[in-house]
């Protein structure tokens, strides 16, 4: 895909494919998990071929999530290191929500909110993986005590609630900040978008010279 004039490249085709595979798996995992989370949502098991199939598929979807998320982690972790201006940015969260960008410090490739989403997802997905293994009775049931499985169930449900809440924030931010979604669909953003939301990143990209 050619990069249109006046835009910057933000995500490579590989990163985009990785992201959307991860997104599809996360949504399927959330739907199948929610179906067993609350009786009011049990009807969601129909999407997966019934209760038994949901029980069988859910942990394998979990394996797919770990693989796809590991790809995202390897690609993006170095851009998500926390620094001082992130704390400043977070302290001015009211200005963020009111879109008063002029009051905020210049932002690099990711702002503090995006970094928080990244790290919360990372921690919660690791918790989900470990507790999920403890709960995966058909493969690992023999290796854990009942008490460990009870702890696993509580951790698994809590981590899942956190992930879904963080996912809502992630999704909403992409919808609210216009011009963002194209970064993940076409790989590019406009110069104006970068100037407004990630000015430091824009300057760094320009300094690197034309690609």
């Amino acid at each position: 895909m050619r990069k249109p004039a006046g835009t910057l490249s933000r995500y490579t085709p590989g990163a985009r494919a990785n992201h959307w595979l991860n997104a599809i798996v996360l949504i399927l995992l959330a739907l199948s998990g929610m179906s067993l989370f609350h009786p009011a949502l049990y009807f969601l098991t129909d999407l997966f071929g019934g209760g038994v199939w949901t029980r069988i598929l859910h942990p394998w979807l979990g394996v797919a999530l770990i693989i796809t998320f590991a790809g995202l982690f390897i690609r993006f972790w170095r851009y998500n290191i926390w620094n001082k201006s992130d704390t400043q940015w977070l302290n001015r969260i009211r200005d963020v929500l009111a879109a008063r960008d002029e009051n905020l410090p210049e932002v690099g490739r990711y702002n503090a909110g995006q970094k928080l989403v990244f790290w919360l997802m990372t921690i919660a997905i690791i918790a989900l993986l470990l507790s999920g293994i403890v709960m995966w009775d058909s493969l690992f049931g023999a290796y854990f005590s009942i008490q460990q499985k009870r702890v696993g169930a509580v951790v698994h449900a809590s981590a899942a609630v956190i992930i879904i809440a963080v996912w809502i924030v992630h999704l909403y931010a992409a919808i609210w900040v216009k011009g963002t979604v194209r970064a993940m669909t076409r790989g590019t953003v406009t110069g104006g978008w970068a100037w407004k939301h990630h000015r430091k990143w824009l300057r760094e990209e320009v300094a690197k010279g034309p690609k």
Binding site: K149, S158, W176, L202
Partner: protein, 298 residues
């Protein structure tokens, strides 16, 4: 006996609304008088026979328990324990283990599949295999470590208290087979009276701590024991002293779940309200101009 049968379901797993509860059924109970048990395992054999189950032929590892644990085939099991009393004499205690049919069943509370576990009006807790999805949550919910998941069909199994027999006015197969009448079956009220007489007799014979095991932590049970040493139920192959549904299971299945679900809903609602009040965050023409200039390196 006919009055003890019940087709009404008073609890239905993974269901938040009230079950039919206008008709009042008589509560039943099985009473196991441990002091009369001779460990013959006729109850185990009768259970296998009535329920069309076959246990694998096991191996002897030096004690009488056979099989060594409850399985998806063996829904009841004689557990033998040798206990040395402080005065030096040996007690050989035999307890018929199996589902206690809790009035407040942890398995049913933990189950995510509607109708995979039910409790009938008469108190019997039953697994409905057609609805079972094999997740093993009942195992986590049970304070007595009773349900077993079959590796053949990945469904959960346990004692049904012969709900099929009780429904047609028959006593459970184990009670029918017991040669010493250590197992009796009837209304819970009658069984408590019967137990009281047995306990009075045991006390007269020097077992001053004899008593009824009907643990209040799970709302009482529909399988009760007469124990010679009711003050120390744990000496009977680890019968829990004060069984309760684990706090972890209550947290997992109780109000925190509703809070979690509400939190997710509120997060989505907050996003929507923010959008319709604050409006979208758009890149103005001025920003675009500045951005383009920066891109050109000006």
């Amino acid at each position: 006996m006919a009055t003890m049968q019940s087709l009404d379901i008073k609890r239905y797993s993974a269901t938040t609304t009230t079950s039919p509860s206008v008709r009042e059924a008589v509560e039943v109970a099985k009473l196991i008088d441990v002091s009369r048990c001779i460990g013959c395992k006729a109850c185990q054999a009768a259970c296998l026979e009535w329920n069309d189950l076959r246990e694998e032929v096991g191996i002897n590892v030096g004690y009488y328990d056979n099989p060594h644990d409850l399985t998806e085939n063996s829904w009841t099991l004689m557990r033998f324990s040798e206990v040395e009393e402080p005065d030096g004499h040996l007690e050989w205690l035999i307890r018929k283990d199996g589902c206690m049919h809790c009035e407040d069943p942890g398995c049913l509370k933990a189950c995510p599949a509607p109708g995979a576990i039910v409790q009938y009006g008469n108190g019997i807790v039953d697994f409905v295999s057609e609805n079972c999805i094999g997740c093993g949550y009942c195992v986590k919910g049970c304070p007595f470590n009773i349900p077993r998941i079959s590796q053949k069909d990945h469904k959960a199994y346990k004692c049904t208290l012969c709900s099929d027999r009780v429904a047609v006015g028959q006593a459970p197969a184990c009670a029918k087979a017991c040669p010493t009448q250590a197992i009796s079956f009837g209304t819970k009220e009658d069984m408590i009276h019967w137990a009281e007489a047995r306990i009075a007799d045991l006390k007269e014979r020097g077992y001053e701590n004899a008593g009824l095991y009907d643990p209040p932590g799970v709302g009482g049970t529909h399988v009760m024991y007469v124990l010679k040493h009711a003050d120390r139920p744990e000496i009977y192959s680890d019968l829990p002293k004060d069984p309760k549904i684990s706090g972890l299971v209550e947290a997992w299945k109780g109000w925190p779940k509703t809070i979690g679900l509400a939190g997710i809903g509120l997060a989505a609602l907050a996003g929507f309200l923010h959008y319709v009040t604050a409006g979208p965050n758009e890149v103005e023409d001025e920003d675009e101009e500045k951005g383009q200039r920066a891109l050109r390196g000006e």
